[in-house]
Symmetry: C2
Subunit: 253 residues, 2 copies
C-alpha cells in the first residue's frame, strides 16, 4: 500500500484524486488546499486541511499547484521524510526544496468535469535514486501501463512539443471556426475532417500524412487562399505555416 | 436506380467507387481513366475506358480529377444530357463546360488504402435547379445522412478552413515531432494528448478549449519556450500563433 497526499485542488489534483480513489493499492491520506471551499469536493472521501502544520507522514507528496507556486509549497515540506514530487511539464525537479525530490508528470490535458481514462495516459517520471524511482514507477503503474523515464530537460522539450499539438492545434480549430463564420458556415461541418486528420497519424507519420497546396507547391491555390482571407492574423498564420511546410518538404528531399 | 460514371482514378474516385459498390440504389456504369494501368483496380467490378467517345448515357457524371484538369475533362462531356458534377472544394460550379452542372463535395481527407465510413462524412452539394439538386441529394443520401446545401462561395471558404484544421494541424504534429527528435523523445508519447485535444472540441468550443501560456498571457513561459526552440521556423510559428491566440483573447473580452 502506497500512501499519498495531494497538494492543490485544481484540475490535475481532481483528476488524480478520482483516479487514485479507484486503486486499492494506493490510499490518499490527505488533500491540502488553500481554502475550505476548494477542499469541499474532496472532503467526503479523504481528510483535508488548509494548514501545512497538519500534514501527516506519507510515502509520497504530490504537488499539483501552478508552476509559480511549486517552490514555495515545497518549502513547507522540507522537513518531511517522504518523497516530494511535482506534476509540472515545465519545471525542473531541482526546484523542489525537499530532501527527496521527484517528478510525476501525466502528459495530458485535464478538463474540468470530463473523466479521463488514465490507462491511456503516458506518465513521465523522474527521481534522484533507484529506490525513489521504483516507488514512483509502482505508483504510476497503478494508473497506467505507460510509464516513461524522462529527464527534466527532456520533459521541458516534451512540454514545448505539447504546446504545438494541443494549444496550437486548438488554435487552428479556432481560426477555422472564425473563417467559417465569415460565410455563415457551421463549424461542425469540419469535425469529421478533424477526427480523420488525427486518425491518420495513427498509421502514417506526419510527413506522410501531409497534404494540401503548400506540400505540392500549388502557388496559384495558395495565392487564392491568401486573397480569400480577410483577417490579417489569419493571413500571417497561413503564410508562416505554408512556408514551414515548404521548408519541411525541401529538407526531406 | 441512379446510374453514374466516375471520371478519374485517384483517391476520391477509389473511395467513392468502393462506397457506391455497397449501395443497391446506385450503379456505377463506367470508370474513365487516362491509362489502362490506372483502371485496373476498377475493371473487375465495372466497365472501364480510356476514351471519352465510349462514354455511355448515365444520370450523373462525377469528375474526380485534379482541380487544374476539371475544365478540360468537362469539355468532353459538353454533349451529354446527364448531370455533370465535380468533387472539388476549391473550384466553382461554373467551371464545368456541360449543359447541366453541379457539385458533389465530400468534406474529408482521403488516404490511399484506408477505408472511410462515408456515413459520417458531410457531403456538400450544389446544382442549378431544383430537379438536379434533388437528384444529387438522393445520390448523397445513399452514402451519408449529412447532406448540406453549400454555395460555390461558401465551399471555397469551407475549403480554406479545411486547410487550417487538416493541413496546418498536421503540420503542428510534424513540428512537435521535430521538437521531440531534438531530445530523443518518441513522438508517440504525444498521441494520447492529440486524441484528447480533438475529443475536447466535441463538447467545448475552440475558445473554451484553449489552454496554454499564450491564452493566460504567461510571458515568462512563452519566453522560455522561444529560447528553447532552436529552429527559426519553429520560433516563427510559436510567435505568430501565440500572438494570434492573444488577439483572440482580446477580441473576446
Amino acid at each position: 500500500m502506497i500512501s499519498i497526499t495531494i497538494i492543490g485542488t485544481g484540475n490535475v489534483a481532481t483528476h488524480l484524486f478520482r483516479a487514485f480513489q479507484g486503486i486499492d493499492s494506493v490510499t490518499v491520506a490527505q488533500v491540502i488546499g488553500r481554502t475550505k471551499e476548494s477542499l469541499k469536493p474532496f472532503k467526503q472521501e479523504s481528510k483535508t486541511s488548509t494548514h501545512y502544520e497538519e500534514i501527516e507522514d506519507v510515502d509520497i507528496y504530490i504537488i499539483t499547484v501552478s508552476d509559480a507556486a511549486i517552490k514555495e509549497v515545497s518549502e513547507h515540506l522540507s522537513h518531511t521524510t517522504g518523497l516530494v514530487v511535482h506534476t509540472s511539464g515545465a519545471m525542473a525537479k531541482s526546484i523542489l526544496q525537499s530532501s527527496r525530490k521527484g517528478v510525476f508528470y501525466p502528459l495530458q490535458t485535464f478538463t474540468k468535469g470530463k473523466t479521463l481514462d488514465f490507462s491511456t495516459i503516458p506518465i513521465c517520471i523522474e527521481a534522484e535514486n533507484q529506490d525513489d524511482y521504483k516507488l514512483l514507477e509502482v505508483l504510476g503503474k497503478s494508473l497506467s501501463p505507460h510509464i516513461h523515464h524522462i529527464s527534466s530537460d527532456q520533459r521541458k522539450t516534451l512540454h514545448l512539443a505539447a504546446v504545438f499539438v494541443n494549444n496550437f492545434t486548438n488554435h487552428m480549430f479556432y481560426t477555422a471556426k472564425e473563417i467559417c463564420e465569415t460565410d455563415n458556415i457551421n463549424f461542425d461541418l469540419l469535425k469529421p475532417l478533424i477526427t480523420e486528420t488525427v486518425e491518420k497519424i495513427r498509421f502514417l507519420t506526419p510527413e506522410e500524412a501531409q497534404t494540401g497546396p503548400a506540400v505540392r507547391n500549388d502557388v496559384a491555390t495558395m495565392q487564392r487562399h491568401l486573397d480569400g482571407l480577410e483577417n490579417s492574423m489569419h493571413k500571417k498564420i497561413y503564410q508562416i505555416v505554408s512556408e514551414s511546410i515548404r521548408a519541411a518538404v525541401s529538407s526531406e528531399q
